[in-house]
Symmetry: C2
Subunit: 190 residues, 2 copies
């Protein structure tokens, strides 16, 4: 998606430690005009797939998921990162390892809001190792819901997550696929 790629080139910042800082428009301050366009692009890509629910994970996926849900005219659900494992039994849950933060999150979704009849589009801001996306797919599996596919803002295509998920037969559409990046030469896209 040229609009997003151009914005990354203009306002993104490559930091040491394989970090692409896009917090001026995507995941701290949010440019809602851009997010609206991203939502419409996911609708274009997944139109006629019967999507009736958008699923994301807190916190930085919520903005994109809101405007994707608006484009599809369906509700969204965000999975919560729980500090305590000892929670009421009315949730689906999975442990997700964050490579960025070096910790494990216990991620939950209420059983009321993920149903066997749901056709789910999973949305998130980044795809790198695929840990978060894999966790959300697992939650859908526990619910018996159908994963129509994933809509990712920025995929680090040089990391294994995208291939791992696609090799499982799950459709993944990323609006910007980073081929390589470093603090000196910046970002190049696939």
């Amino acid at each position: 998606m040229k609009l997003l790629e151009d914005r990354i080139l203009r306002d993104g910042l490559v930091m040491e430690g394989d970090v692409l800082k896009v917090d001026g428009f995507l995941n701290h301050q949010m440019d809602v005009i851009l997010l609206e366009e991203m939502g419409k692009e996911f609708l274009r890509l997944y139109n006629d797939c019967g999507v009736n629910k958008i699923l994301t994970i807190e916190a930085s996926g919520i903005g994109i998921a809101c405007f994707t849900a608006q484009a599809f005219g369906c509700p969204l659900v965000f999975a919560k990162k729980s500090k305590t494992r000892n929670i009421a039994g009315d949730v689906y849950s999975v442990d997700v390892v964050s490579y960025t933060h070096g910790n494990v999150s216990h991620v939950i979704v209420s059983r009321n809001y993920l149903l066997p009849t749901d056709r789910v589009l999973i949305v998130d801001d980044f795809l790198a190792n695929g840990a978060a996306l894999g966790g959300l797919i697992e939650l859908c599996g526990q619910a018996g819901a159908t994963v129509v596919g994933a809509g990712i803002a920025i995929e680090k295509a040089y990391q294994p997550g995208g291939k791992l998920i696609r090799d499982r037969g799950i459709r993944v559409e990323s609006l910007a696929r980073v081929a390589a990046m470093d603090p000196v030469s910046g970002v190049t896209f696939c």
Copy 2:
């Protein structure tokens, strides 16, 4: 706002421990049609106030903030709850006590995204003791930004937060003000 009050009466659930469960439409699963209408209502209330930024706190405020920002045609920023206090010095920060969760969050906003020229509408899903809202006001103060007011989905009007903030001369508009609630008789509004 009748639309929100009716929805709370229909789908909200009063639990033991002063908890109003609205996670089917507001803060876990989100009804984007409702959130859009809430954003438009905040625009109606704060039109002509020169609002150029929406500020909220992760995670459950983000959805409302997204559609409020869309209504105002301005960006939003969500304050982050940081696990570590030892963070880079380019943030404003404040400690917020959560009465619900019984813990203290270190809440931060990047200095880049809260400016002395900003006229900020603070948005959140709940106002009870006013701890989170007070923290967000404090962050605006650190930045020298102007707080135009607060837009709250649900105010527990029998708790002290709303009066505390209004007594400081800050405008607070709540779309649903709960006068009383309990698991047997349900919710009554002001």
